[in-house]
Structures are given as C-alpha cells and as structure tokens.
C-alpha cells in the first residue's frame, strides 16, 4: 500500500541521508564515556551487529542501559567482557547466566544502578519527552528509594525519578523506510522505541528496508524523526539461540 504524496517539494531528492552501509561507520559518533541505551529483552530485539561493532571499535567507560546485564557472552555481556563498560543501569543484573557481570562487579570493575523495569522505560521516555522526571510509586519504602527525593501527592508517597537520556541509542527494528520510520517484528519492540526517543543520536540495525510510502502512517511505531542512522543487516538468528531457526 502506498500513500498519496502531497507533492511536498524536493522531498525525495534531498532527504537527509540516514542509511549507512557499514556498521563501523554508522558507529563513528560514539565516544568513550557515552551513555548508550541498548535495546533488547531476552533474545528479542537485540542489536547484535551494532554491539559487536562497538566492541570492535574498542570503546571505553560506557554507561550501558539495558533491561539486564546480559547473559552468557552475548549482547551486553559481550560489551562487559570486552572491557567497554564502566557502569550498567538495569532492572535485572543478577540473572542465572550473567556470569560476566557478576565477576566484574565482585572485582569492583563495573558500577551498577538498579531501576525497576517499568520505571527504567518511563525514565527514558521522560528524557525523550523533555520532562525532568516522573513521580514513581514503584519502590517506595525500598532500597530503590534511598538517596532519592520523595514527593507527596495528597497522602500518596512518590519517588522523584529523574529522566534518563542517552548520548546514543543502539536499537533493532524490522523494517525501515528512507525517512527512518520503523516497525518491529512481533514482540521485539520492548525497550527499543523508548530508547529511540530518549537518545540524542539513534542508530538502528534493521532486517529490511522498504520504499517511502510502504509503511502506513498509523502503523509506524517509531517515527523517523527519532532515527539518525540505520544499517540494513538482514534478518539473522540471535547468536545465543540454540533452537530451530526459520526465516
């Protein structure tokens, strides 16, 4: 399905070039010390090629935001193992397979901030929305509240959770059009759309590219205004997945 063009002048000739052929070049704005929002949950929606690219570029002192601190030697765990990471901000650092993180953490080589999963997403959305933060009910009275301001609304106690912006987001999507508009495959959205909003500079790896007008305006999950660069990787089997694989 293609949508009628309003005939907006010069659009197709002069659109901002967002497509990059090389993972390495696409990552060339990452700097040591950046806060990097990394999409993915479980095996789904992890930008593995971008993560490997960061490892190869040998970046250092990154603060990595993800749901977990990685499993096995893949995803965020690989970033940790390669020594790229100074701090993780996650909801679930201590998984069964997060051995790489556990070792580094015990050795005092990586810092940790734990945030409830929904508040992690909401703090990033707040950054994307230009808000200073949110009043959170999650974790009131717990160790999560320690050191954070409390704000009462009526009789209800809330934790002031500040916005969590990223210098860069590394995310994964299913389809992209030349404007950078994105849709996601099945339940692979997870944190990806929120991270695209929250970062100053968003880099996407994507299964496939489609022509302008091929995505219905209302089905677009991440508008291209939140996307700076994309690399088409094709769909591939997640490195950590040992089961059967169907294209």
């Amino acid at each position: 399905m293609r949508y009628r063009s309003g005939g907006h002048r010069g659009m197709q000739q002069d659109m901002k070039q967002k497509k990059f052929d090389s993972i390495d070049t696409a990552l060339d704005r990452l700097k040591d010390g950046d806060t990097v929002l990394v999409g993915g949950f479980g095996l789904s929606g992890i930008p593995e090629k971008l993560i490997n690219g960061v490892c190869e570029r040998g970046l250092r002192d990154l603060t990595v935001v993800n749901n977990s601190s990685g499993a096995g030697r893949f995803g965020v765990a690989r970033l940790l193992e390669k020594g790229c990471v100074a701090k993780v901000i996650v909801s679930f650092p201590w998984g069964r397979e997060s051995d790489v993180f556990k070792e580094l953490y015990k050795a005092g080589k990586v810092d940790l901030e734990i945030v409830p999963q929904g508040i992690l997403a909401e703090r990033m959305r707040a950054a994307g929305a230009g808000l200073g933060g949110i009043l959170s009910p999650s974790g009131v009275g717990t160790q999560i509240a320690e050191g954070k301001p409390i704000h009462m609304v009526g009789n209800q106690e809330y934790i002031v959770e500040t916005a969590l912006p990223g210098d860069v987001a590394l995310i994964k999507a299913h389809k992209v059009d030349p404007r950078g508009n994105l849709i996601y495959r099945l339940a692979s959205q997870n944190m990806n759309p929120v991270m695209a909003m929250a970062a100053k500079h968003t880099i996407v790896e994507v299964d496939a590219e489609v022509a302008l007008g091929d995505l219905a305006p209302a089905e677009i999950i991440t508008p291209g205004v939140f996307v700076d660069r994309y690399v088409v990787t094709g769909r591939y089997k997640p490195e950590a997945w040992e089961g059967a694989w169907h294209e």
Partner: protein, 222 residues
C-alpha cells in the same frame, strides 16, 4: 508432621489458578506462577500480560513453531491469542503500574501480615534483580503469592516484619503454599484453607505472625 509432603508445585499452581475470574487480565511471575496458565478453570476467559509488551499471551507453541520474537518475560516461547495487542515497554507498564492487571501471581522470599513482601534480593547478597516486580505489585488489583510455607531450614516465611529487603508495601492479597491458603487482611493473616493432611495448628506452628483461624477453614481441593 515433617513426613507430610504438602501440595506439589503443580497443585499450588492449580489452586491459585482457581482464583482467577472470568474476564481478568493477569501477569504471571517465574516458576509456579507460570505453571498456573495450565490450570485455568474451563469456561473462564483469562487474558495474560507479559511485561515485554504482550497483552494476550497464549500457550507454548510446538517446538517447530517457536519464534525468538515471541517470548514471555520469563524467556519461554509463547503464542499470541486472537485479539492480542503488542506495545513497547513503557506502555506495557502503563498496563501494569496503571492498575489494569486484575491480578499478578508472584513468588516471594517473605510476606508480612501488613501485606508487605520481599522477592528481589537476599539479605546476604550484594545485588538482586527487581525486573518488573515492583511496578507490577504496586499496580495490580490483587497480588497472589505462591511460595513454600517455610525455608528449607523450617523458618516461616509468613512474618510480622520482613527481614529480607522489601519489594512492595501492603499489596499482598493472598498467599498460596504447599500447606495452606492464607489471606492478608486489615486484621492480619487469616487462614482460609489447609492442604489435605494438615490441620490449622500445623499452619499456626509454621507462621511467624498472628494467624486468625476462623471456624470454617476449608480444605484445598487438590
């Protein structure tokens, strides 16, 4: 008394599943809660929520149909029911924190008679994992806890005050163990049912807080 085995994990899952009412939206934690999906009473339309953005999670597919982009929050393969909706993480927690879950079923290390519970961190470990538990517990209309009545060394897990780090205050509705169903009320713990082979006194002996024992304590249909 220690010879009696109490309910199996499957039996606890079946008992808590019986609480779920027609039309409810429910979130299931790892372990026994996840098993509950197999025991929904016939004729009840229960919708399952998974915090990674799935509203309308269906059962595990056949092995050849597994798709890595359809996994539960517990990382197990799932399907989508007809009429399922997919959203991103922030909106998924609008569902959870915003009060749309009729019930959440979670595991716990300890439950206090105030309804406080602990499930994310052992006192002697440096860190724990919260995941979605704090958002889900604070938002759900009812929090059902499945856990063992005592630790392995016999220490009761139903207590007056938590010694484990708090997850969420004053939110637990009922606790389901291998020995009993215990409601958390304004008056504190109330024994509702005991497992076959157990008496109310057995539960009182394994609860480190006042336990109200009404006259009409039932037996769990196992």
């Amino acid at each position: 008394m220690s010879e009696r085995r109490g309910l199996s994990r499957e039996q606890i899952a079946k008992r808590v599943a019986a609480e779920l009412e027609d039309g409810w939206l429910v979130n299931l934690g790892l372990g026994i809660p996840t098993l509950a999906v197999n025991y929904i009473p016939e004729g009840r339309d229960i919708l399952f929520h998974s915090e990674n953005g799935i509203i309308g999670m269906g059962p595990r597919p056949a092995d050849e149909d597994v798709d890595t982009d359809l996994m539960s929050a517990g990382k197990g393969p799932i399907t989508l029911i007809e009429g399922a909706a997919l959203v991103h993480h922030a909106d998924s927690f609008v569902v959870a924190r915003g009060g749309r879950l009729d019930a959440a079923i979670l595991g716990a290390y300890q439950v206090a008679d105030s309804g406080d519970f602990a499930n994310w961190r052992l006192p002697d470990r440096h860190v724990g994992g919260i995941g979605g538990a704090m958002d889900i517990a604070v938002g759900a209309q009812r929090v059902f806890i499945t856990m063992s009545q005592t630790d392995k060394d016999g220490t009761p897990k139903l207590v007056e005050d938590l010694t484990y780090p708090l997850t969420t205050k004053a939110c637990v509705t009922k606790v389901f163990t291998e020995m009993a169903v215990i409601a958390v009320t304004d008056q504190g713990f109330v024994l509702e049912e005991v497992a076959p082979g157990f008496t109310p006194d057995d539960i009182v002996a394994r609860t480190a807080a006042s336990l109200i024992v009404p006259d009409d304590v039932g037996t769990i249909a196992a």
